[in-house]
């Protein structure tokens, strides 16, 4: 059997697992790895030297002298008072810690819920306000007047005075739908402002004609109209609570952010 020279030994050693030998040297290899490492150390002289060196390094590092401290680190009472801060400082420091980490997502969820509530409470009011004039233009419904929402016609009536043309709600002539659709802007206004040319008895049938329609629609239409009106209180409540929750969540988030910015201690990472 040929004895390998140093060069071939090194080449062979390069294929050996040095980390395994290093672990074996300090007793960190176990089971099959320990057997493998023991075999390597027995067969390869460089692995054996490596194991001995690792042990020597570990021992030597442990024996390195400790540097004596250069100062006394005890606190004076002034330093301690400065470090502790006021009660408010301590509270802010507490909430900036990891123990309050769950508050942040909860506040974020509350903010989302508050925003959704605000939007839900706010949107129908906008919708009612925008649809109300259009409805009152083309229908003659008493509940609208009763509900205390003056129609544009009523508003123009007050402007034009008692001699002005009666609004459809007051028994006036309702412009035909076709006219309302074909005319726009001033034409429509002109139609309303025209004095009644027909006799009152001629107006009566028209009023009678309109009466059943309003009566008929009373069940469905009134319900549809009263729903926004009757739920206004609920919507206001939702809007109020939503805004309240949003503001509170924003306050909590801002407080946490400010506390974290000022009192977060990076050494506690």
């Amino acid at each position: 059997m040929a004895v390998p020279n140093n060069q071939s030994l090194s080449a062979e050693h390069r294929r050996h697992d040095r980390l395994l030998v290093a672990r074996f040297a300090v007793g960190d290899a176990s089971g099959a790895q320990e057997h493998e490492a023991r075999d390597l150390v027995r067969r390869c002289s460089e692995c054996a030297a490596l194991a001995a060196d690792i042990t020597a390094i570990s021992t030597s590092v442990a024996q390195l002298p400790a540097a004596p401290r250069s100062r006394d680190f005890r606190f004076t009472s002034d330093q301690a008072a400065r470090m502790r801060g006021s009660r408010f400082d301590r509270w802010l420091r507490t909430i900036s810690g990891s123990g309050w980490a769950t508050v942040r997502p909860v506040a974020a969820v509350a903010l989302s819920v508050g925003l959704v509530m605000s939007v839900v409470g706010f949107l129908p009011i906008l919708g009612a306000a925008s649809t109300a004039p259009a409805d009152t233009l083309f229908t003659t419904n008493a509940p609208i007047a009763v509900a205390g929402q003056p129609s544009p016609e009523q508003a123009s009536d007050t402007r034009t005075g008692p001699g002005a043309a009666p609004s459809p709600a007051q028994g006036g002539i309702e412009p035909p739908l076709g006219v309302a659709e074909s005319t726009a802007g001033g034409q429509l206004d002109n139609a309303y402002l025209q004095p009644p040319t027909s006799a009152p008895e001629q107006q009566q049938p028209v009023a009678q004609q309109t009466q059943p329609t309003s009566g008929k629609a009373g069940t469905g239409n009134d319900l549809g109209r009263q729903l926004p009106g009757s739920s206004n209180g609920l919507r206001d409540l939702i809007l109020f609570v939503g805004i309240l929750v949003t503001l509170f969540a924003l306050f909590v988030l801002a407080l946490l952010y400010a506390a974290r910015r000022r009192y977060y201690d990076p050494l506690l990472r």
Binding site: V26, D53, V61, L64, P65, R69, F73, R74, L267
Partner: protein, 226 residues
């Protein structure tokens, strides 16, 4: 209820006794009776300090300042920076004493001090002016014993210097792990908890660090073999 345990601070607490450090270096964590007493004592002191007792906190400082300084100076390789880092760590510890949760106050404090040391290293990396001034400072070498011959003590100093220089060359993560394991006597799991990495990463850092030390020492390995 406040638990008071009267335990005289032992030298092993300072962590500067290499023999103790080596003896504590076990692969698995086993709480020894001394550890239990130490934890109980620390908790009692912390409770008093949280209640505003400055003397109790200064007692903690007395117990750990040597250990902390010895640990940090090995990591940052500069006594002034190490002193500043330890001071910062103790300030932080005092401010956040009420946040201490867990069994080992020593581990918690070590973590804070190592974070402070890491910050020093980061700062130095950004502004490298005088990377390792400690190399030229022999003042922190221990005084030689009367029985030691001048040649022997000179050789020992040279060996320690060579090893310190090699330690300064490996990565800071490897250096921290090796110092905590070989010098301060933490076990793998404690180092993993303190540094916030996995157990395997700690072992890998230590073993790879030792291999790197061996490569760096080269011919100077002869000094260590003696």
């Amino acid at each position: 209820m406040r638990e008071m345990v009267d335990v005289t601070p032992s030298d092993s607490l300072s962590g500067v006794d290499p023999a103790t450090g080596a003896a504590d270096a076990a692969p698995t964590r086993v709480l020894k009776p001394n550890d239990v007493l130490q934890h109980a004592r620390d908790k009692a002191l912390v409770e008093r300090a949280v209640g505003g007792d400055l003397e109790a906190f200064n007692e903690i400082v007395l117990l750990y300042q040597d250990y902390l300084f010895a640990l940090v100076v090995r990591v940052v390789r500069d006594r002034d920076s190490a002193a500043d880092a330890v001071q910062e760590a103790l300030f932080s510890c005092y401010r956040n004493l009420d946040r201490f949760r867990g069994d080992s106050f020593r581990s918690w404090l070590t973590r804070i001090a190592l974070n402070a040391a890491t910050d020093v290293l980061r700062y130095r990396k950004r502004r490298p002016a005088d990377p390792y001034p400690e190399w030229e400072d022999d003042a922190w070498q221990p005084p030689a014993g009367e029985e030691a011959s001048p040649e022997r003590s000179a050789m020992k100093r040279h060996t320690q210097r060579v090893l310190s220089e090699a330690l300064a060359e490996i990565t800071s993560d490897q250096r921290k792990a090796i110092v905590m394991y070989d010098v301060e006597g933490f076990d793998y799991q404690e180092i993993a908890d303190i540094t916030g990495v996995s157990l395997g990463t700690v072992k890998s850092r230590i073993h790879r660090g030792r291999l790197a030390l061996r490569d760096l020492l080269g011919k100077n390995m002869e000094l260590l073999r003696e």
